[in-house]
């Protein structure tokens, strides 16, 4: 089942080869990702959320001399991440359709490879396999930014790849080290292995560096604003919605259970840089003049909350972090979609070029407002639940850090309302915007599911929080044993 999910987008590429029309390609790849999404939803009834174990495991050996197995399986955490990925891809294809002007076939092929590799990363239960999928993701993303991106795309994409490669290089060394010394890459076996203190420290740092660059956390974040800004709308949504989550996912999946002693040792430092990230990201976002760059910095701030929640080592904090991973994908994803849809018509992302457009595009204004409110954590919408749960948990652990982090909530309102006010309120400055068309058909259909989920998770987060409770407990088990 899981292998089907990983392989299906790749098989879909074969389909794409037979078509050439712009519309045909989009429709075909939309259908492929839609089927993928339905298949991911179908998993919901096939996994047991009460069990903390991995399920639907498929495993066979790939190499004789080397302990390299193809092992995939999921638990609640990876299920939700896979579902999130599968949910976003059809929207990305539908919502980013108008922004792509050349080489359509290549774009959709890249997207499908990307989807396959992301799901593969989330499902891998073998570190070596994990690494292969992890690196495989870079390839399509490199082209998506570098070919279909904005004016500065080459710089942005090289920066993105170099940053990520630098991190994964150390991770690779760490994985090889583990393979040599423990004769296995199997995740579940390693989770019960006892690494020495010294090993834990170094391995923790090697993995954490790769993941923290991906998250990204200050000061390793400067690739993100460039990549986000230059990527096409769909690329930005995937980047913010899923790729950043892989960093947080890695921290939860690898660092916490495999290196519990080191995790505890570095927990305060991690929380501290998370809080620095929250504040620094928010402050920097507030002075941006480019819409996408502002939202990119807001991502840095939001991801800080997620890392903070993870390193509180409380079940509720971890639950909050996982929820906030989904929240951030929804709110930031929706914001990137909306900015992309507006950019397709106006060809500018400069905030100062806009102003007073709420009057002519009321539906955009409404959608943008809801996404903004979700992002700044208004109770009743999803963002609040994540922030509240994380901060409530971290308050009991690191009170002083939490009080600073709460300041991020004020700053969040500041930069987001500044963005909203400058774009939608005030006087209409730009006369060219007179024939700016409001959101229609497909565009509304892309945003509505995201907004519906924002409300659902904001009003009834209980179901989601419950479903990840056991998984959260599982990942903290080793740490609590240390106490």
């Amino acid at each position: 089942m899981i292998s089907f999910l990983i392989a299906f987008p790749l098989l879909g590429i074969v389909m794409l080869l037979f078509f050439n029309g712009k519309k045909q390609l989009a429709v075909i790849s939309f259908l492929i990702t839609l089927i993928e999404c339905i298949a991911a939803v179908w998993l919901y009834w096939n996994i047991d959320f009460d069990a903390a174990r991995f399920q639907l495991i498929e495993s066979f050996k790939l190499m004789e001399i080397f302990p390299f197995y193809y092992t995939v399986g999921i638990d609640a955490l990876s299920f939700w991440m896979i579902l999130l990925t599968a949910f976003l891809f059809p929207l990305v294809i539908a919502g980013g359709y108008t922004g792509i002007t050349k080489n359509h076939k290549g774009y959709y092929i890249a997207l499908l490879i990307l989807e396959s590799s992301i799901i593969g990363t989330f499902a891998s239960l073998n570190l070596f396999l994990f690494y292969i999928f992890w690196e495989l993701m870079l390839l399509p993303m490199f082209f998506i930014i570098g070919v279909w991106g904005g004016a500065d795309r080459i710089y942005a994409t090289i920066k993105f790849v170099l940053f990520t490669m630098f991190g994964s290089l150390l991770m690779f060394i760490a994985i090889i080290y583990i393979g040599i010394h423990y004769q296995t890459f199997d995740y579940e076996q390693l989770a019960s292995a006892q690494f020495s203190m010294r090993e834990q420290y170094w391995l923790f740092l090697a993995f954490a560096l790769a993941f923290l660059i991906k998250v990204p956390i200050v000061p390793l974040h400067t690739w993100l604003p460039d990549a986000h800004t230059e990527a096409p709308a769909g690329g930005s949504v995937i980047l913010a919605g899923v790729l950043l989550k892989l960093g947080a996912y890695g921290l939860i999946r690898v660092n916490l259970p495999l290196f519990p002693v080191a995790s505890q040792h570095f927990s305060y430092a991690m929380c501290a840089i998370a809080v620095v990230g929250i504040i620094h990201g928010a402050l920097t976002a507030a002075v941006q003049t480019d819409m996408k760059r502002l939202i990119a910095y807001s991502s840095v701030s939001h991801m800080g909350y997620i890392v903070l929640g993870i390193f509180t080592f409380t079940v509720s904090g971890l639950q909050g972090s996982i929820l906030h991973m989904v929240n951030h994908a929804l709110s930031t994803g929706a914001l990137f979609f909306l900015v992309g849809m507006m950019y397709d018509q106006t060809h500018t992302r400069q905030i100062s070029d806009y102003g007073g457009i709420a009057k002519i595009v009321p539906v955009f204004a409404l959608f943008f407002m809801i996404a903004t409110l979700s992002s700044i954590g208004l109770p009743g919408l999803n963002g609040f639940i994540g922030e509240f749960t994380i901060l409530a948990a971290s308050f009991g652990v690191y009170m002083e850090l939490t009080i600073i982090a709460v300041g991020g909530i004020v700053l969040g309102a500041w930069y987001m309302l500044k963005l909203y006010g400058s774009v939608f309120y005030g006087e209409m400055k730009n006369v060219h915007f007179q024939d700016f068309r409001d959101a229609r058909g497909v565009q509304i259909a892309v945003i509505i599911p995201m907004i519906a989920l924002m409300f659902y998770l904001g009003l009834y987060p209980k179901a989601f929080l419950n479903s990840i409770k056991n998984s959260a407990q599982y990942h903290l088990e080793h740490i609590h044993k240390q106490f």
């Binding site: 002075v287 509720s316 009743g380 300041g407 309302l417 939608f424 005030g426 209980k462």
Partner: protein, 649 residues
């Protein structure tokens, strides 16, 4: 207190929510199809508000039918469940809720009706009613919530509606910015509020009021920290020092909004919250003292600023801040019932004042009181209802403001303060000065608007103005005038032969302190003094602004300077701009963005490229093509390997 399940509580909030959603849909339809749906929209909105009011009335009936002290409760669903966090989305209804909801839904319904006439020509009429319904929903949720988290949903919800409605005419940049300012000032308070919530969760593990009430012993230690944090939240929402600065700017919104949100209901949420959590605030004399001092100081400070304002709405805004100060003074000295009593009477007379001002603005398209004058004859209903509210706010018996305000003053003097023994006298004197100043600025407003001729040199629009008074506008005025006149009888103190019903009604929620410092016999003479002070203020003001024909030109330099400072509102906005906002912006721009991000991190990253390039160029020189060199490299490499192997062995 016994808890009785009541499955109909949610009806109270369902009506306005449905109204907001229907109107939101109508707005989008109207935008696309360009049809006129105003009648339906107004009908839906008013019906939603009215039905909500009826639901409150019937719930009150159910509540009072049980003779014992009870709490009506309805659990909707479990909201946030992440052990140890457990927050249920539940509503509760007790006497405090009853008082709050009664006047909130009542005033809201009147203002909905009034808005139909006031907003009749606005192109976003439907959107306006959608927001207004949404506000009512949030406000009711705030009051009905059975725990701080649900209260916080309403708290943020009213803040959002306030933002949307202040910035309602967003094409004007200044108005849009006023909305943003309100939201962000409130957010600063909310950060404090959240910290208070976290402290409470940490100490008691629950946010439910009825559970917290029985956990006082675990709260004792952290009561001060929790109280201060929550009070910071209250200073944001209820416009107290130091976060009051958003409220005067909030007057950019439509006037009925100012009446409903920024005078009668939302801004009293902070007082409500303090009274709701009174069991906690009583545990900490420090916090109570801070609240009392903040309240008294805000009351005095805002009253001083109100003296020299010329915009009719700005005067009323500062007056609201000042009156909210009284309420906090009451809450700070333990007179919670008196505080809520004043919340209620203030809702009536201040809504009336704002709606009256709205009627004038609607007719004159003018907010400067110097350009008014003599309106008494042209808009008689507005004028006379306005004057009832004027007497009520000045504290002239038997109008409502007198009873509630005097109850607060009496408590301020009579409650003992264990931290600062002399504080009650100081608070009392400061409040008395405020009474005088209130009478002065309100009389100035009334005199310059309804009497006299208007100041020379200000353009009069008489020729273009039709002084019509629309029934949808004056009927709410008349009803509110009745309430402003007679609502005070809900709390006539015992010395005047009354029963102080409101205090009795609220006792189940409050734990009263006994006034011990001043004997009750003093109550009557003190009452006389406060009436006298108010009358002096009125007479003084009438003399200066109405009767004095030739103002004296002799002014001391100090007096002129003082006048300028007051006219500029003590330059508080400018001070905040220079001390907080500008440094923050500069820090964000220069330090965070330019130095840390762009120079340090990016500089380092960009220097790596040349660094690698530099060394690879150097190293590439090793490839000389000369075989001797390569033999040397092989030899060196082998030596290192051999050395390493030897060391290992």
């Amino acid at each position: 207190m016994p808890i009785v399940e009541n499955p109909y509580l949610a009806l109270i909030v369902v009506f306005p929510l449905a109204g907001a959603l229907i109107n939101g849909a109508l707005h989008l339809i109207a935008c696309k199809k360009n049809v006129r749906l105003k009648t339906i929209s107004a009908g839906v909105a008013i019906a939603a508000s009215l039905l909500s009011f009826i639901a409150v009335l019937s719930t009150c009936y159910t509540y009072t039918a049980h003779h014992a002290d009870i709490i009506l409760k309805q659990s909707l669903w479990n909201w946030i469940v992440a052990e140890p966090l457990f927050i249920s989305l539940s509503l509760q209804f007790d006497s405090l809720t009853a008082v709050m909801l009664l006047f909130v839904t009542f005033v809201a319904t009147l203002i909905h009706i009034y808005s139909v006439a006031y907003m009749a020509d606005d192109e976003n009429f439907i959107k306006y009613f959608s927001y207004l319904n949404l506000f009512l929903f949030s406000m009711e949720l705030l009051v009905l919530g059975d725990n701080l988290a649900v209260l916080f949903i309403g708290w943020e919800g009213v803040g959002l509606c306030s933002y949307l409605l202040i910035a309602f005419w967003y094409a004007d940049e200044e108005k849009a910015n006023a909305g943003k300012k309100a939201f962000i000032a409130n957010r600063i308070g909310d950060a404090g509020f959240l910290i208070g919530i976290f402290l409470l969760l940490h100490a008691a593990g629950t946010l439910t009021f009825s559970d917290l009430m029985h956990k006082q012993e675990v709260l004792v230690l952290s009561a001060t920290a929790i109280g201060i944090s929550l009070f910071i939240g209250a200073t944001g929402k209820s416009a107290q020092i130091p976060l009051y600065v958003w409220l005067p700017d909030a007057m950019a919104g439509p006037t009925p909004v100012s009446a409903l949100i920024h005078a009668a209901t939302m801004v009293t949420a902070g007082v409500y919250m303090v009274v709701r959590m009174n069991f906690l605030f009583q545990l900490s004399p420090v916090v109570s003292t801070v609240i009392a001092i903040t309240g008294a100081a805000t009351a005095l400070f805002a009253a001083i600023i109100a003296l020299r304002q010329n915009d009719i709405k700005k005067i009323l805004a500062y007056s609201t801040i000042s009156q909210l100060g009284y309420m906090f003074l009451g809450a700070g000295v333990g007179a919670y019932a008196a505080g809520i009593f004043h919340v209620m009477t203030h809702a009536f007379f201040k809504a009336l004042l704002f709606l009256g001002a709205g009627a004038i603005i609607h007719a004159l398209h003018q907010q400067d009181i110097r350009a008014m004058g003599g309106l008494r004859k042209k808009m008689p209903i507005t004028a006379y209802t306005f004057m009832i509210a004027w007497l009520a706010i000045c504290g002239i018996p038997p109008f409502s403001g007198f009873f509630s305000k005097d109850e607060i003053l009496w408590n301020a003097l009579s409650q003992e303060n264990i931290i600062m023994p002399h504080l009650p006298v100081v608070l009392y004197i400061s409040a008395m000065i405020t009474v005088f100043l209130t009478a002065v600025y309100m009389t100035r407003l009334v005199a310059m608007t309804f009497f006299g001729e208007g100041k020379a040199g200000y353009i009069r629009h008489d020729q273009h103005v039709e002084y019509t008074e629309h029934p949808a506008m004056y009927i709410p005025l008349m009803i509110l005038a009745l309430c402003s006149a007679f609502a005070g009888f809900a709390g006539v103190p015992h010395v005047l032969g009354g029963g102080n019903h409101i205090e009795h009604f609220l006792t189940s929620v409050l734990s009263m302190q006994e006034g011990a410092r001043v004997s009750p016999e003093m109550k009557l003479p003190l009452m006389g003094i406060s009436i006298l002070v108010a009358l002096c203020g009125i007479a003084f003001s009438l003399y200066i602004f109405l009767w004095r024909t030739a103002p004296s030109q002799r002014r001391a330099a100090g007096f002129v300077r003082m006048k300028r400072i007051i006219e500029n509102k003590f330059f508080i906005d400018e001070i905040y701009e220079a001390m907080v906002l500008k440094p923050l912006r500069t820090f964000a721009d220069r330090i965070s963005f330019r130095i840390i991000d762009a120079s340090l991190i990016e500089g380092f990253v960009h220097s790596l490229g040349p660094f690698v390039y530099f060394w690879s160029k150097r190293l590439s020189r090793m490839h000389t093509g000369n075989i001797q060199h390569y033999v040397l490299y092989i030899f060196l490499g082998m030596s290192v390997l051999v050395y390493l192997m030897l060391v290992q062995l």
